[in-house]
Symmetry: C2
Subunit: 367 residues, 2 copies
Amino acid sequence: MANVPDTIQTWQMVQPTAKDKETGELIPGKLEKKEIPVPELAPGDVLVEVAGCGVCHTDLGFFYDGVPNVNKPPLTLGHEISGTVVAGDEKWVGKEVIIPAVMPCRKCLLCKTGRGNRCLNQKMPGNSLGIYGGFSSHIPVPSIDLCEIKDRQGIPLSHFAVVADAATTPYQAAKRAALGNGDNVVVIGVGGVGQYMVQEAKALGASVVVAIDIDEERLNKMLSYGADFVINSSGKVPKDIFEELRSIRKQNQLPNYSWKMFEVSGTKVGQEIALNLLSFTGKLLIVGFGLQKLEYSISRLMAFDAEIIGTWACLPEYYPQILEMVLSRKVEIEPFVQTRPMSEIAEAFEEAHKVSPDKRIVLLPDF
Amino acid sequence: MANVPDTIQTWQMVQPTAKDKETGELIPGKLEKKEIPVPELAPGDVLVEVAGCGVCHTDLGFFYDGVPNVNKPPLTLGHEISGTVVAGDEKWVGKEVIIPAVMPCRKCLLCKTGRGNRCLNQKMPGNSLGIYGGFSSHIPVPSIDLCEIKDRQGIPLSHFAVVADAATTPYQAAKRAALGNGDNVVVIGVGGVGQYMVQEAKALGASVVVAIDIDEERLNKMLSYGADFVINSSGKVPKDIFEELRSIRKQNQLPNYSWKMFEVSGTKVGQEIALNLLSFTGKLLIVGFGLQKLEYSISRLMAFDAEIIGTWACLPEYYPQILEMVLSRKVEIEPFVQTRPMSEIAEAFEEAHKVSPDKRIVLLPDF
């Protein structure tokens, strides 16, 4: 076995951004390069040499916005991980893998009844896997739910990091929506996750996909990756968007019922647009997260026979299906990924926190 | 054929409650006894002699609260109807029937895909069936979705009126929630509809049913009809209810996830309680209607992997299943029905509008 290290090199979040309780002053978060021991691997665990780890909105929530980690800092963030198994369970060693962002316990009732993605004992790197996260040279993880990449068709291994979360979360959302052939779909927010939502909706057979965003360039790009129509919502109120969608409907003889809508932006405006568009027998999937509250008359759901479905992470058993879509180029990842050396993690966080990047930043270990 | 009349006797809503546009003064709604011609029956239509028609919250919404009817007044309200077919399609004449509150067109895509309850061309007596409603001696209706009562086991025919809506709407809600054996259930509001929600949840196999209401007497009664625990929410805030349910959970080793909750009250407080109780992999069914808005962070649904499902009316194809539950006494209707002469319709409306009655008022034609 090659490359079994004595220690793990890692970028630890020593301290998330905090507020001084007395002065109210913002105390900047701290990332520090650390060297930690390789833990003894439990039966069934493996050690993965990280090829790449994506910078997700969720990491930024932990680092900047006070979203609490399940395991208290110091810990290493990062849950979008691809890499190679270098130690542990013999039958895994040498294999290239995607590590699911959420790893169910596989023992509880939720796991046994198909709801493992929301298992309450789940392990998530960079959150609830002790101190371990993906912004590291190596990470110890359970092997049971690893997704093997048998032939990566010339795509760099690091790029598959985005399959761990950005490209799998939309798939779970599509499954929850029972998305299938002939469906009419709206995707609100085509950033890091929404880009895959659009592509996968189309790949799963959607008849029409309408992408909504505030960024004209992103929207135009999506026209080449699954979107049939785009609506730029910048500077508009929800009613305007409703009218634009209505006009798309009219011009294309599309029904005013049973639309499946995916709110991926996690913003207040995005959610307001979504609620405004929700109508008869419609489904609204909440894929993005934000702390804001909204005003809504939930009785409208009764009159519409409509649903709002929150969707968390993705079942590991779906990963091979998404991987197949990527390898068969039904879902493209290369146009939506950029890589940086992991030593630039602090700058990458800053950049992604300012404006959600057009292409997901995947950090490559350079310890 | 006996009793085929020349005219229909009816209590028409000549005018719903309105506001004088200039003075803002309330103009009371008007119900008037009228005599209207029996229309020519189209092929497939029948004339039903009304045995009883229930006074539903929805009628009161039309009459008092400015909820608009699909067909403009004057029209007769009333959509909870049982009776006997007296004319039209030969194979129906003489049969005792329940008329579904909502009758799908059976021609559109929604109808063909199992969503007929929300068919956009549906006919509802007292709303979208022209001028015809249940507070009448007779009513012409399509026969395709009538539910035949073959042997009513000594229960008065008039009582089956409540099956047309009050007892069927909860069944549709239970189906939408995929309610089944071993489920843990909360029902908020045990009035005219909620009483059946509790009974049917239990009949469908719920392990635990917790009933929440502000009326101690009603709650106590429900302990004999399916409720395992009751919580009186009178004068309490949602957090108090959360704590009471938590204590019920702890004492009975019940999980904190996957609860199925039915909000039947349609009130702001009821909906706030429901949203507050909604947690991991939970489902909240919106069965009651109210015009109010609420503040809520819908991103919680994402974190919880939870759903809010609005549910409208009931598919006619489920009616025989509910009828079976009633006839086999899994669901009792007699303890939850009171009858009055239809000539007291105005007083009955007033009374039900003041306080939702403990027992559904079913009006019996006495023209």
